[in-house]
């Protein structure tokens, strides 16, 4: 996979989530200011072969506004934590977007025709002078400039006391779940005044709280299965058929701690920041602070593959704890064929691991090092010892430039990388040359 830069879009606020829809035609981004920007891929065109594949802004709307919780005297941030697309069932597109407390269902429709030739009204909508009307006509639909309309169809509020960290649409396309730090709720997409609590790990005494839910996702094919990850590094696969309240997991995935690597930071770095099922449904991908791990659903004792994202940070954990970077939540992604996994890191680096060849690459998403259409150059972080020309040393990494959110096109080798307020879209060179 030799990515070349396709575009870089500067958004007005820090991007907080990125998600392709099921065909890859649309790419949604949410930001810290509660806005959603949707990009659409340009269709192939023989006239301009180089433009094909580019993503342009399709629609922008304000999804969430800042709110104030008067009971607790706290602000509720409008930042969009997650966006999930619903599978498309008609001409309209739908997506769910959520901030810390409220989930909203948005419907996106296009209008590219409008009726013309009304009998009673003229072009501007004013009533005609009836004496001028001598015959009747049937209004016809004429093309107009594309207008994208976004309307909020459902608002799922008051379901969460704690901060929502994930949402996941069920394969049944009728229900979805939302997870906060301590609870997971199941909603029906059409019903907003009720939700079912399916996981509750809140202890009777908050003093006893030692573990929180960090991410959750429905199985891509089995509508009764879902997984949730915890701050202690464990994964729990739950079956909704087993009981109404899925506090007892069907399977618990946990890797025993390596005693030689034990430190006061062991638990923090084991906290899972993201979990994703593979497209096949056979594997799960988890991200913790220093690694990404592939788990086989059939094996609970340990992951089948472990990849080091930035092991050179292991000796810096104390300062990363001090500046809070150790709490950064990185996401991870599978490619369409589940053969490559991707995750972000610091210094605007992101990493890709090929599961078959076991090769990995580090790339940088930055304006300076990428001209349009240029191929990304692999980067290397040197830990001391022999240093090559373009290597970056660990100490000069910029920890404020973190790539937390990445997404992979469902079928093609196109990736979206969010670097602070910049959205980068990279495409496989081979892919684009074929067109």
């Amino acid at each position: 996979f030799l990515p070349l830069i396709l575009m870089c879009s500067n958004l007005s606020d820090i991007i907080s989530t990125v998600e392709f829809n099921h065909t890859g035609e649309l790419l949604a981004t949410g930001d810290k200011g509660g806005r959603v920007v949707i990009f659409q891929r340009e269709p192939e065109s023989k006239n301009e072969p180089y433009n094909q594949g580019e993503y342009n802004v399709y629609s922008t709307f304000q999804s969430h506004e800042p709110e104030f919780d008067y009971l607790k005297s706290l602000e509720i941030e409008e930042k969009i934590n997650k966006i999930k697309w619903l599978p498309q069932q008609n001409a309209a597109h739908s997506l769910l977007s959520t901030n810390d407390k409220t989930i909203k269902l948005w419907k996106i429709t296009e209008r590219d025709k409008r009726p013309e030739g009304y009998n009673l009204k003229d072009e501007e909508g004013k009533l005609k002078d009836l004496s001028t009307v001598t015959s009747l006509q049937v209004p016809v639909l004429k093309p107009m400039d594309l207008m994208v309309e976004v309307t909020p169809r459902r608002i799922f509020a008051n379901g969460h006391t704690y901060h929502v960290n994930s949402i996941s649409v069920n394969s049944d396309c009728e229900t979805y779940m939302s997870a906060d730090d301590l609870r997971i709720n199941l909603w029906h997409l059409a019903i907003t005044d009720r939700s079912f609590n399916i996981v509750d790990i809140k202890p009777a005494n908050m003093e006893d709280l030692t573990e929180v839910i960090t991410a959750s996702e429905f199985h891509p094919h089995h509508c009764n299965l879902f997984v949730y990850s915890s701050s202690k590094g464990s994964l729990r696969l739950c079956d909704m058929r087993a009981s109404a309240l899925c506090d007892k997991h069907s399977k618990l995935y946990e890797e025993p701690e390596d005693p030689s690597n034990r430190s006061f930071f062991s638990e923090i770095i084991s906290s899972v920041s993201d979990v994703k099922f593979s497209h096949s449904g056979r594997y799960m991908l988890t991200r913790d602070y220093l690694t990404v791990k592939v788990w086989d659903l059939n094996m609970e004792t340990k992951p089948v593959e472990t990849y080091q994202v930035h092991d050179y940070l292991r000796s810096k954990l104390c300062s990363l704890y001090e500046n809070d970077c150790i709490f950064d939540k990185f996401e991870c992604a599978w490619n369409g064929s589940d053969s490559v996994i991707m995750t972000g890191a610091y210094n605007n680096f992101f990493r890709m691991f090929d599961r078959n060849t076991k090769r990995d690459v580090t790339l940088e998403a930055s304006r300076e090092s990428s001209k349009p259409r240029a191929i990304l150059k692999p980067r290397r972080v040197c830990v001391g010892g022999k240093r090559r020309k373009d290597d970056i040393s660990v100490d000069s990494l910029d920890f404020t430039k973190k790539i937390l959110h990445t997404a992979w096109h469902p079928t093609e080798n196109i990736i979206a990388i969010a670097a602070t307020n910049n959205l980068y879209i990279f495409q496989d060179k081979v892919n684009s040359e074929m067109h």
């Binding site: 919780d69 607790k72 005297s73 706290l74 602000e75 509720i76 941030e77 810390d100 704690y162 901060h163 730090d181 301590l182 908050m206 003093e207 709280l209 030692t210 573990e211 929180v212 960090t214 701050s231 430190s263 006061f264 930071f265 638990e267 923090i268 906290s271 000796s315 810096k316 104390c318 300062s319 704890y321 001090e322 500046n323 809070d324 709490f327």
Partner: protein
């Protein structure tokens, strides 16, 4: 190494019960780890308090920090280093120490001798590998590190009821979660109230950790704001029995 030990005499950790000579060899190697661990504990406590902001604090982060604090405290009780808490109140020094937690880890070469800097400078390299480090550097922070520990020790030593002690041990963590649960204007029992005024920028964020519902345990926290009660702390021996009892309860729980 000799200079290190000379300064170390000011620490009451090793007087009273301990045979100083016998533990001399141990002292040279251990203090760096203990200091670093103490620094981590203090930093963690500051982090937990700093999360009282306009927006609801990140629960995951708070839980992870609280777990780290518990781990350190458990290890310290197992080590017996809780007994090393001394009575001296060096609030002034704690100011410097806390301020410098904002500084990212530096290599030891960057730190001037004799300044009050945290042990973080060598934390990176030495923490996990547990090597003895440059004594003069770490011992210069020894006295400054006492103050935050004092506050916790005062809490310990004032209490007579062991049952309450057990509750109080968890108190700082409990109350953090209580306040996360029902954030309400807190009566400010400022942990660092003896720190001088220049520190009050941070103070506005260091709100008390008690909620109204927990006023019953208020008494022990009074000791934080009062100057060190030297009467009860002057004799480590008499308090050791209390502490042992407390540790027993902890270990059981």
């Amino acid at each position: 190494m000799d200079t290190m030990f000379v300064r170390g005499l000011k620490r009451k950790c090793f007087d009273g019960e301990e045979d100083i000579e016998g533990t001399l060899a141990g002292i040279k190697a251990v203090p760096s780890y203990n200091l670093q661990r103490q620094s981590l504990l203090d930093m963690s406590l500051v982090k937990l308090q700093l999360c009282h902001m306009l927006v609801e604090p990140n629960l995951c982060r708070s839980v992870l920090i609280a777990n780290t604090v518990r781990q350190i405290q458990e290890e310290m009780t197992q080590d017996g280093t809780w007994q090393m808490i001394n009575a001296q109140n060096t609030g002034q020094a704690s100011l410097d120490r806390l301020v410098s937690t904002d500084i990212l880890c530096r290599s030891s070469g960057d730190q001037a001798e004799g300044k009050h800097v945290p042990a973080y400078g060598t934390f990176n390299k030495d923490f996990e590998s547990d090597q003895a480090q440059d004594g003069s550097e770490t011992m210069s922070t020894a006295s400054s590190v006492q103050a935050p520990r004092n506050l916790q020790s005062n809490m310990w030593e004032e209490m007579e009821n062991p049952q309450e002690n057990k509750g109080n041990f968890q108190k700082s963590l409990d109350q953090i979660f209580e306040t996360l649960e029902n954030k309400s204007p807190n009566s400010v029992e400022d942990l660092f109230s003896e720190v001088d005024n220049s520190y009050y920028d941070l103070d506005t964020m260091l709100t008390g950790m008690m909620t109204n519902t927990k006023m019953g345990h208020c008494d022990s926290l009074e000791t934080f704001s009062s100057p060190t009660n030297t009467a009860s702390n002057s004799n480590c021996k008499s308090d050791l029995n209390d502490l042992d009892h407390i540790v027993e309860i902890l270990v059981e729980s």
